[in-house]
């Protein structure tokens, strides 16, 4: 902020001397012009900045800003890539809303979200709180818990597809050994979605735990000391000290989880292709199918715009919270 004043001075100085050329050495220099020669950098610096920003401007322009604008454009067009696109108003949105599968996808997404929060929240939290107390083994725990995050998602999904196989899978073999099952896992409409959630939880628990651990190291020991002096039991300390102190990160992780849930694609695409009977269809899977299987770009982008609106709202809340949280 301190330099912004200088910038204004420099900018006005540069602006007021644009009339006179830079090479008029013959004349006696006005104080202002002399100042400009002393700071010849303003224009040159803007130009250098522009040159340095060129890669970013080009790539963001072509591969980010333009596709975002074009999504809006495509969502009100009929486009089959062959004929010239025609304006169709809100027809694409009407098509999306009248498609019964949208309701299924939204319901599945809500179910994904509800299950992820129900299990994906307390488990890492409990793990982090208990394991933060580990002194020597803490490092090993952190590495172990992070291993699933390291495995490429496609490999995890294919691996779990082996595990979930109802006849030759590891899970039914292991559970059968203790007299349970066999379970249909991905083959039944009742268990397919929870099975995907289990995989997603396994793959994501590590980063959630580490974020909780980082937040736990920020909880002041004096608070625990005071609570203990007042006779608070361990559970009371967790309830009245730890959890309130973690409120900020919990909200952030909740939002990140919702943002992630809205974009679930790889797991259902590779494991179930949305089945059985559309029980694992997600919004992103619908977008993919509409665009790259049916070639209906209008439908696909209309649905994308709706998804973008939902995500933008969540992301805005997320960014506001992280800012509030990191400055507090």
């Amino acid at each position: 902020m301190t330099t912004s004043n200088d910038l204004v001075v420099e900018a006005t100085a540069a602006a007021s001397t644009t009339g006179s050329g830079p090479h008029d050495d013959g004349r006696v220099l006005e104080p202002r012009a002399r100042r400009r020669l002393k700071h010849p950098g303003r224009w040159r610096r803007d130009l250098s900045a522009l040159v340095l920003l060129l890669p970013a401007l080009l790539l963001f322009g072509v591969f980010s800003w333009w596709p975002i604008l074009r999504s809006l454009l495509l969502s009100v067009q009929y486009n089959n890539l062959v004929d010239a696109p025609t304006w169709v108003g809100l027809d694409n949105f009407a098509n999306v809303f009248s498609d019964p599968i949208l309701l299924t996808a939204v319901r599945n997404t809500l179910e994904f979200g509800a299950l992820s929060v129900l299990f994906g929240f307390p488990i890492p939290l409990f793990l982090a709180i208990m394991m933060f107390e580990l002194r020597r083994l803490g490092g090993i725990f952190r590495v172990l818990v992070y291993i699933p995050v390291i495995i490429p998602p496609v490999v995890s999904v294919l691996l779990w597809k082996f595990f979930y196989d109802p006849d030759n899978g590891l899970f039914n073999a292991a559970l059968g050994a203790i007299g349970l099952g066999p379970f249909p896992w991905l083959q039944s409409t009742a268990t397919a979605l929870p099975s995907l959630v289990l995989l997603i939880l396994w793959a994501g628990v590590g980063s959630t735990v580490l974020l909780f651990l980082a937040a736990l190291s920020g909880v002041s020991p004096e608070l625990y000391e005071a609570a203990e002096t007042d006779g608070a039991s361990i559970w009371q300390r967790i309830w009245h000290v730890t959890l309130p102190q973690l409120r900020g990160i919990m909200l952030i992780l909740l939002l990140l989880q919702m943002i992630g849930t809205l974009q679930i694609f790889t797991e259902p695409y590779v494991m179930t292709d949305g089945g059985p009977e559309n029980s694992t269809v997600t919004v992103l899977l619908l977008i993919y199918r509409a665009a790259f299987i049916n070639g209906d770009f209008g439908y696909a982008t209309a649905l994308s715009v709706l998804l973008a609106a939902a995500l933008a709202i969540l992301s805005a809340i997320y960014l506001r919270l992280t800012r509030a949280w990191s400055t507090s």
Partner: protein, 311 residues
């Protein structure tokens, strides 16, 4: 966020040392002196550690042993810890019969190029916005940060239509490495990190250089870049890991099977290839990120704010 959670630590620690039972957190030493409580805490911790170890190492071990099993045995006895007859040549067979080596090379080419483009864009843009501060800088930075609100997945379709007919050039870059490299550069989070890093460098450094007549490009090459090696390395490594994992975009951009990276080729191969060979291919795809993790585990585990934020 990362900086702010880490920064207050030393202060707290210094204060802790002055106390007797000051290294405490939730459970104090006095608590642990009560045998019942000590036992139950240790029991819970031991159980959790065992469960986490099984969940972490178990699937990885299964992948490993599966890569050296015969398909028959793999299906008949999935719970076996090690196959009765070890097929060491699965890896070599996957390499030749499934062409895993070819897909691995594709993955390496795409990931390294994408990481390179991301570092170049982040450093040049971050330097221009933070040090040179042009008059239009605020607008550009705002427009870049605004894309953080809209994850790439929602402009997927429009991005595909863009790469099959790049505006201004009217060429189709689908099924070429450019389709992975160039869109990777438009990653706002990297620019944010680079700019914030350059913001922490003392301005006097650049002002002095400017007085000495150094051009902005020399300032970037000879002052900023040598000082920002750790930042460039972090962005490069994170981009590399991200590009290695990527699935949806290469699936869309690389419809030609010969051009696909491992992540896209593996599910396609899994449909009808010999399952043990597919597992060997999956192992090959997992080893490089695992090695990176083993080497940099301290930095990755401590700087996890990154991965949490990137998602």
């Amino acid at each position: 966020m990362i900086v702010n959670t880490e920064a207050p630590r030393p202060v707290v620690r210094a204060r802790r040392r002055t106390r007797t039972d000051a290294n405490r957190s939730l459970i104090s030493r006095a608590d642990l002196r009560r045998p019942g409580l000590r036992l139950s805490v240790r029991a819970i911790q031991g159980t959790l550690l065992a469960l986490v170890a099984i969940a972490g190492i178990g699937p990885l071990w299964w992948l490993f042993k599966g890569s050296f099993s015969g398909t028959q045995e793999l299906l008949q006895n999935p719970a076996a810890l090690w196959p009765s007859t070890t097929q060491w040549d699965n890896i070599a067979n996957a390499w030749t019969q499934l062409d895993i080596g070819h897909y691995l090379l594709n993955t390496v080419v795409y990931a390294v190029g994408a990481a390179g483009v991301q570092v170049i864009v982040a450093v040049t843009a971050g330097f221009a916005l933070s040090v040179l501060r042009p008059r239009f800088g605020r607008v550009v930075y705002g427009a870049i940060l605004a894309t953080l609100f809209i994850p790439g997945t929602v402009s997927l379709v429009a991005l595909y239509l863009t790469i099959i007919n790049v505006p201004g050039l009217n060429i189709n870059i689908a099924n070429t490495p450019w389709a992975i490299w160039l869109p990777a550069g438009a990653h706002a989070f990297n620019v944010l990190i680079a700019k914030q890093f350059f913001d922490t460098l003392p301005r006097e450094l650049f002002e002095a250089a400017s007085v000495d007549g150094a051009s902005p490009f020399r300032m970037l090459l000879q002052i900023a870049m040598p000082l920002s090696r750790p930042m460039m390395f972090a962005i490069g490594l994170l981009s590399l890991m991200g590009a290695w994992k990527d699935f949806l975009w290469p699936l869309v951009a690389m419809s030609d099977p010969a051009k696909q990276p491992l992540s896209v080729a593996l599910p396609r191969l899994a449909e009808n290839a010999d399952q043990a060979l597919v597992l060997a291919g999956m192992l090959i795809s997992t080893i490089p990120p695992l090695i990176v993790f083993i080497i940099f585990q301290r930095q990755i585990v401590q700087g996890v704010g990154f991965s949490g934020l990137k998602g």
